[in-house]
Amino acid sequence: MKVSLFEQVPYRYMPDGYEDRYSSVVTAPYDFVEPARMQDSLVSAYAELMHGARAGLDGICVTEHSQSSYDVSPNPTLLASAVAYGAQAEGLDVAISVLGRSLGKTREPLKIAEEYALLDCISGGRLIAGFPVGLSYDANLNAAIPAIDTRDRYREHRELILKAWSEPDPFPWNGRFEKYGQVNLWPRPIQQPHPPIWIPGTGSPGTLREILQNDYAFVYLSWDGPKLVGQQIFDRYWELAEQMGRDANPYRLAFLQVVAVSETDERAEKEYVQHLQAHYRSGLGAVPATAFAVPGYAEPAAVEAMVRSGGSGGMLARMKTATYREIVDSQVAIVGSPATVADQIEAFVREFRIGNLLVMLQNGSMPRDLTEKNISLFAAEVLPRLRPIWDDEGWENHWWPHGLRAMDTVEAAAAEEVA
């Protein structure tokens, strides 16, 4: 399987009790931020992503959020670009996964087409193109897109970007939201007709069906861990795949998991407890529930189902007060020695057929030295146990960048020759 380092860019110095007074998005006050600490928070994220690439993770992943204290990443291609260049300069074979620029939110979809194409070029065809709709607060409050237009804009923008990448000649675009007299992209992706496309989603049946129809990969970014909602979402996905005549290739599925590794279970708890709690409480826990669904963002049937079930069944509603024990027992975060962590991950990866795992190894207030230790230990002692998980089934990862797959083939041929 492929394992990538997923990183958000939180401000790492949130004051105690922040979540009792403020939201972490949209209206989050800036007056407590110290410029030097903001610099430290941002630079650490760049450094840790490079550390992950050097440590041998298969890819790096970044996301986009505006007006947010838990992910100060208004344009993830900026971050990805630095890592793509660094990796290229050092000869590191790492996928650059942008999960991504929000297509429902953007007012300049061709900028996204250009930025992704540029990343694919400088990385030598190692880009994974994430096409998220965008969270409601980001699209509808920060970017002020009427909520009911979010998904229609998403579809139009995706279609436009795909055409702009692969259409040989300049073309006009007369869309509902965008009009261009002449679309003629420079540069265009090395991977043609397009880089592998990953769609982050919350697992609604409509979205899953569309992903399978188009043969994209589904990325489940839930922060809920595998236990609470995994069964429901993944079973639904594989059932739909079967119904729609798609194979059971585990690489169709990517999943995000928060992980914290130390030498022993006891030491892991001691080192990570405060940072994990802070992450959930002042970060995701401090996003008001209403910010995830401004009226019009979700279809009436989805809202009705949500009201009937009393929420998502996940941790989100409880994150503000989550204790370390709840976080660990529910597997919202998997924490412990390399053996503990590898056992737990391997079990759910096999159960749910996850081919692309994203591990989030920095959280909340976690400082750079501890994060880099987490990355190093994970890469050295957990990763080797996870990599061969799907080898015996012989699937090809069609959702992995060509630049790297070519490399795999060259290496495999070389290895065969040696043998």
Partner: protein, 271 residues
Amino acid sequence: MATSEAPVRDETVEVFGGRLRLHVKVAGDGPPLVHFHPLPGLAWQPLLDQLAEQHTVYAPEHPGTSPGDPQAIREVETFFELLLVYEEAVRALGLERPAAVGQSFGGMIAADLAATFPRLFSRLVLLSPIGLWRDDAPIPLMEMVAGPPEDTPKYLFAHPESLAAQAAQALPDDPDQIPALIAQTTWNIGCTTKFAWPIADHGLGRRLHRIAVPTLVVWGRDDALVPVAYAAEFGSRIRGSQVEVLDDCGHAVQADQPERTWTAISKFLDS
């Protein structure tokens, strides 16, 4: 103030080249009057019964807000198209210069229709309409819509505890019906805010001078959604208009001050 409850019937009119079936509630008898509802959709309220005593009231439901027809909103892409839809509907219903009453979001629609089609209506009543913007008097519409539902009453009512305010927010007795109602209201607000987001300013202020019919503007002095400063703003831009500002009254004037609101409206419509 005893009001008989008029029987209300449903009509649909086909508009926009047959692409849209607009649902219209109709009640009463007398000269025609078109009512335009606020953000959460059409709720048949005492004010409509009062209007129906002397008028045939036509109360269209904003596209997408009619139960069972949520996707109708996709047929209306722009605010301009929304105005065309209503202008077509008035003609399709065969109404000859009806009076128009618009509340809040519906007030913006009614005012813009009267400005865009100066011969469409005979009279115009605007109850605390949105549609203008002043930097010194921001309208917290986005904050209300995206905020927790329990905060909504404080934007709408001077007295959230009053019977009329409670009635306006009442949930059904049958708990099984509540999720569907919440989903419907949420979607309705999505359908209306499509044309009011993030700031409901489509340039109405630059067109209000075109309104050529007698106009009444009613406002609550304590309006916490659209500050009372906008009453004078509408009043000064609509030639010959009459402005009534009600004391001890919030945004939902007909709920906070039903009698004084009705007195102002009925006097104006009778004159």
